[in-house]
Symmetry: C3
Subunit: 624 residues, 3 copies
């Protein structure tokens, strides 16, 4: 162990009474650790305002209860309003002192702002006023807002910004209101973090700043990281969904050139007052710890070192127990540390190879699938993960990028169900990228909403018909019935989620519906656009067909899988002074990998060539 992350909940110890600060205890710990060769990452303690604070300033407590207006109470965490000026000011006070005390401490190698910042949905008067001011600033006049949101229906028009309500669970709200609120929530979270970043920037020297994020919808992580130095994230994936943690790495790595930090993960089980997440077989901790490193991270920290002896999280797995005994994974943790050390030279010198494939992840589309799900059983997140999983299994692991991200590095971009193209100004950049040679695979339900969460008025899509060379004759939801289609080679398959039936206006049909009103209309089309092309999915394909299509399109774009390996084996190639790869079996099954050239496993020193068999949960760091 060479780094300890701490202090993100210690406001009470740092400021036992208002304006009386005490950091001596923390200096002692940081120094002691430093002397033992252990660096410190410090968290700002704003998630847990002390009892004296919320007692004296109860107005900082979140108004979380939808209808009744009841304030949150002391005794949990993240119960103060991110927008509240008093909370901001008192938070700034403690953060300032903390930064003054440790901003130049050589033992402190990084900062974490707050903890797992999320959308609080606070409806206190401060938030409501700020929401209205934000809308006034954006729309100028209330009529412009009425117009933009289409509030004519149901006499919903407002006569003034003061009339605009916040969303409540007991009201059937207009989706554009919910969309605006959700966007406000994300920006409030970012603003809360940035206020502290400004202080840390001023008072610290070179220690990278980040905030440990959870993959919850609600906060746009692209926005959040614009003003930060290092991407930090927490995850608690289990044996059942460990591949989703690969998805996370592929979504966090592209945010910054700098390697990301996995700031929290469990060694063995999760838990609050109840242990959860199931037992993890031997080797899980190894694989779970290596994945972030394999995929471009430079730190893997466990939460937590020593189990709590009391409190809300006393049943969480750890490295040593609350009474100081090593847990059953202690040996595995030691082995992992030895492996990191053995491979550190290689890992630090060789950079991960950038994928030529990207997959779009849109916070706005995700949020909208809650505010306006469009079709029953539709989960934006689920669709996205399913397509990602196919690419992962094809050894075509994509970068997972936000709409605002640059596109230049990619040759194929897949954008499933990307509801709106106007997030992050994507529309124009996408057009340019396609015309310059990119292959865009998208749909169904892509480009069907304006940034206001309304439909377009000229056509069912903003630009898709024009780009894809189609005319959408019919749109039919696919709940619960999917329509059959036939592919050029005669294969039959069935769509799901939604069916757009296209007439061809320049496109070629890759698959054509064969049923009812849709019979004869194209289900999947392809069209050249400049030097690139647009593949439009009118419906979601079943896994086999989606696999076939993605294989064909990447191959036509000159992209080869990074390895010949079984689907349960992650191969993360590295390049630089030498070639190599990190290899991880992550499904707890036997796996195999065919090496392009003989390579040495830095963890064992053993040389491999040809077909290599992998044990369940095997990890290798291979260098040519």
């Amino acid at each position: 162990m060479n780094v300890m992350r701490m202090a993100e909940f210690a406001w009470q110890r740092m400021e036992p009474q208002e304006g009386h600060y005490d950091f001596d205890w923390l200096h002692l710990v940081v120094e002691k650790l430093g002397k033992a060769g252990i660096a410190t990452i410090l968290g700002t303690p704003t998630p847990t305002p002390p009892a004296w604070l919320t007692e004296r300033y109860p107005e900082v407590l979140i108004v979380a209860d939808v209808a009744a207006g009841v304030r949150a109470q002391h005794g949990a965490r993240a119960h103060a309003c991110q927008n509240n000026p008093v909370y901001r000011e008192l938070g700034a006070g403690v953060v300032t002192r903390l930064a003054e005390g440790f901003g130049r401490d050589p033992n402190v190698i990084g900062w974490q702002v707050d903890n797992e910042v999320y959308a609080t949905n606070c409806r206190c008067p401060v938030c409501v006023r700020k929401f209205r001011e934000r809308l006034r600033a954006k729309y100028g006049s209330i009529d412009a807002l009425n117009q933009a949101w289409g509030l004519g229906t149901w006499s919903q028009c407002f006569q003034s910004f003061e009339q605009i309500p916040f969303p409540r669970k007991d009201t059937w709200h207009h989706p554009s209101l919910k969309n605006a609120w959700s966007s406000f929530q994300s920006d409030s979270a970012v603003e809360h973090v940035m206020a502290q970043v400004a202080i840390l920037r001023r008072l610290t020297k070179g220690q990278p700043i980040g905030t440990d994020m959870m993959q919850w919808p609600g906060v746009n992580h692209f926005d959040m990281n614009q003003g930060l130095d290092v991407v930090q994230y927490n995850h608690y994936d289990t044996m059942q969904n460990l591949w989703e943690s690969i998805f996370l790495c592929d979504s966090y790595r592209p945010l910054k050139a700098r390697p990301f930090w996995c700031t929290e993960t469990s060694t063995c089980w999760n838990g609050g007052t109840t242990a959860g997440g199931g037992y993890r077989e031997p080797g899980f901790c190894r694989v779970n710890s290596w994945l972030p490193i394999a995929l471009g991270g430079e730190a893997n920290l466990y939460w937590l070192w020593r189990s709590h002896g009391s409190g809300q999280e006393l049943m969480h797995g750890s490295v040593i127990s609350s009474c100081g005994r090593p847990l059953h994974i202690f040996g595995e943790v030691q082995e992992i540390a030895r492996g990191f050390r053995a491979a550190s030279g290689f890992l630090n010198e060789m950079r991960p190879v950038v994928s030529p494939v990207a997959l779009h992840l849109s916070t706005r589309s995700w949020e909208m699938s809650w505010a306006q799900p469009m079709v029953q059983n539709f989960s934006y997140n689920r669709q996205l993960l399913d397509v990602y999983h196919l690419l992962l299994q094809l050894q075509l692991r994509p970068d997972v990028i936000h709409p605002a991200a640059a596109l230049d590095a990619y040759r194929v971009i897949v954008s499933p169900c990307l509801t709106m193209l106007d997030e992050g100004g994507l529309r124009e950049r996408l057009r340019t990228w396609i015309e310059a040679g990119g292959t865009w695979v998208t749909g169904p339900l892509t480009d069907v909403r304006t940034i206001e969460a309304s439909k377009f008025t000229h056509a069912p899509f903003g630009s898709l018909e024009e780009w894809a060379g189609v005319y959408c004759k019919y749109d039919i939801p696919a709940d619960p019935r999917g329509f059959s289609m036939r592919w050029a080679d005669g294969t039959e398959s069935k769509g799901s989620i939604w069916h757009s039936g296209f007439e061809l206006r320049g496109a070629e049909a890759l698959a054509t519906y064969t049923e009812n009103e849709l019979a004869g209309l194209a289900a999947v089309t392809c069209r050249r656009m400049g030097k690139g092309r647009v593949i439009a999915l009118g419906t979601m394909l079943p896994p086999e067909e989606m696999t076939r299509l993605l294989q064909r399109l990447t191959s036509e774009a000159g992209i080869e899988p990074v390895a010949t390996a079984s689907a349960n084996v992650l191969v993360a190639p590295r390049t630089g002074a030498a070639e190599g790869m990190v290899v991880v079996e992550h499904e707890h099954k036997p796996g195999s990998l065919t090496l392009p050239q003989p390579m040495t496993d830095l963890l064992t020193g053993k040389r491999h060539e040809g077909v290599v068999a992998l044990e369940p949960y095997a990890v290798m760091v291979l260098k040519a």
Copy 2:
């Protein structure tokens, strides 16, 4: 298309500021449509008070939250209190101006008051005061109420009317309180509509007035239509439950001599922010549109013509899309219109044949199955629909009538689980009708409660023992175990829901229990009463036995099925200058029908005789 229904949510456009009215835009639309041969049905816009109204008069907002007393908010619909005098007055204002403007407009052929009026369960001070005043008026003294409701138990007696609470979800209330509240809710809804009817009556000339009803429990539709001219209703049935829409027609047609209007139905799918209800196969729209016409309606209107481009209902199916493209059912809609035109002469001249069978539908019994379910898994509505479905399949489709409806037209009346006989003064009229020759089939759990929702004190039933010639020895709930019984012919079957075990006091046993304490007691009895007879079911019969019993009893009453046809085929006979029938296959299966005489299908001009095979979702208008 020859009629457009509109304006029921347009209060904001009609009265953009308090007291400033603007109907020019509406006149323009009505005239434009009129010139195109399209008549208008106008809705009064009271479901959607504008934001200025609820901002200035927040007291009109419903207090819907059970315990916390929080008011509803602007941004949805039906959020104002039906009993609030300010809301009533402002509503009267806009309705008055609307009536003045369009009351004599020849293009306006009808009025719809408000929209889908339902029991709001508002608990605002106005409602609570009105509820108490209503009880004071009914009972005179608080002791009389204590007595009527049996409040002695649990020290529940009130000392004054001011102590009477409204029902809250977090209190285990007395069922008589809930019964009184539910009855108040229904009357409030009716009163709200009637206040507007009075204005429309005064200021319009001959345009029929109605209110578009949904088949929700809570509002007594018999009461509601007493003061209206035309029965209007909305329904959104799907492929799975389309036969329930036949039930609706059979319950709405008997309310008035005038043909009813189906004011809303979906062309293809339902939806709010999510499309729902499932895809409907080709022909569904045809069948769904023809059913109301076949069953005595004279209008079938779709909701909606053009999909919304934004808002809470933007995913609802329509005729043309929000960007103006015809939906996939457009051709079917055109075909339906042609069919209506082709058959219009026949339909207008021949009246539906009145059924000699009636089925009782009691709003009070339905409501009571919520306030006082009596036995687990009991659903009054489900029992009723099940018996209706059997009659439908037997081609003995009944009129579905309220307790207050006249009985003279019927020879057999079926009243399953008719908890109370004192709704609409039924008891005496029913006695007279039976004695005059009617066959009454009823039970189980019929006549077991007073109008106050209490048990009778002299016997388990009000009159049933006397009428049916039985003495109820034992009552045993049937959850989850049903008891066996044997029929005269030796058939065995099992009861459900409830078991009354009868000793015979003049009746004949049709079936006798064979198990445990009930062994030897009658389960189903028959007794002559004057010229008629009473068939008492001590338990609910399984479908086969109920079918056999209903067949036998109708046959003995000289009633023949209206057709020889498969169970999935609706045959709706017409009579008048000529004979004929409308035939609809409504289960999406092949069907068949044996014609009594050769007939011509007015939709195709084709002549049929003998056994006619029907395609799934076939519709024929046959004239002898």
Copy 3:
């Protein structure tokens, strides 16, 4: 019928206006019954304050809604705050008058205080203040509380007792706070009852006092009965779980030397506004009525004699219907009464044999499994009942005792999942008892929490490692995977709930884990401790293994099953002037019993010997 229980809800009739009492009607009834040879048990009417009371003193109403602070309302029962001084004072008023009126009435043979007293979770200002005062009294300083609860984490420390919140559903609370609150709830209920007991003691003469308890968690029934004379309880078990009613008797009998009273049970079905619990086959009422008598009770009262004609409970089963007709179980009830009479001499003279086996039931551990469940799907109650059920089937029916109960009478004590040993000062008494020769079978998850709901800091257990002679190497939750273990005889089985893996420090391994990190560690151990021994379960055993273990351990302790009988037959031996037993078949199956000597059934007069076959639901009272 020779006893009637009544008046527990009749406050309104006793005190129609504040300070105006009327007991004439009650005297009339009591006298009338007395003349008919029927004694009376009187309930104090405090569960149902009249409407005038809650109207004039609304502050007595419970604040039950977690976050919103809304008060309960008139119209149900148990809606007043047990801690409220006004409610206490007015309650004392009516109880005083009642006691004055009937305290020496020879027809009144007992008192029931209030009704089914439970933890109300009232959060009114009185309760909150009292909770804080209680904590101040217990901890002295707020720092001591912070320390005891471990509030350092998450800045949870309080600076004053006034900051301590009451638990709310919308806050993720510290488990020690919830533990303290739950303990406060139990004590409040006891205090509420004891306030009335003090009055009754003063004004009555010798009539035994009790309170009719329901087996809900939340109130410690050991504490409750300390100041009472007779254990009273209500139960409504069904055909499915009738054996749990044996558990109840075995937990209530040890509370007092005096025979307990079953104050409420159903004759045939349960119900509120809905009948529930299912039909009960003939004989159920017999068996259900005999069980308390067989197991040491001296009264079995039905609720209710006559069904209500209205109100919240009008669908409850009874002896006669609301209109006065006998229910189908009437004959069975008569037969039961005859049986009681026939056996009364025997029952009154012979005492139940005290079991040498005890099973611990801890209210605190039960409550903690809600506040801090430790592992998913863990139910303290379920585990306890499962072990009880095995002992019952082995004819080794234990006394079910609270931690505070004396241990001397027992040779084997089973304490499954006894989270804390410091309830009722058990730790020291248990040590002494074991050293004196007792066999203690315990685990998993026994002795893992302090009385403050925290972990121990020196070891995973308080004393268990020392007593059991083990060192717990690893603790691993068992959700959902159980680990295999091997027994000395080679049998394999799998653990559940939790796995502690023990190294032996003086103990012998009875079973050893064979998988993964636990392989080689002991799963079940046995160690001599003084003259006794400690059997520690590191994991919960499957039923077959637990059965085998319990059989072996009791046999080694010289304990024989009370009878050779099939598992569905309860044999309750009696001893005294003669030997005998009450025999009850309680699973509605044929059963058998081998008699040690010829005996006579006092119910039939028939003599039995050798193997006796029992019909389903048979009852015999056998005397040698």
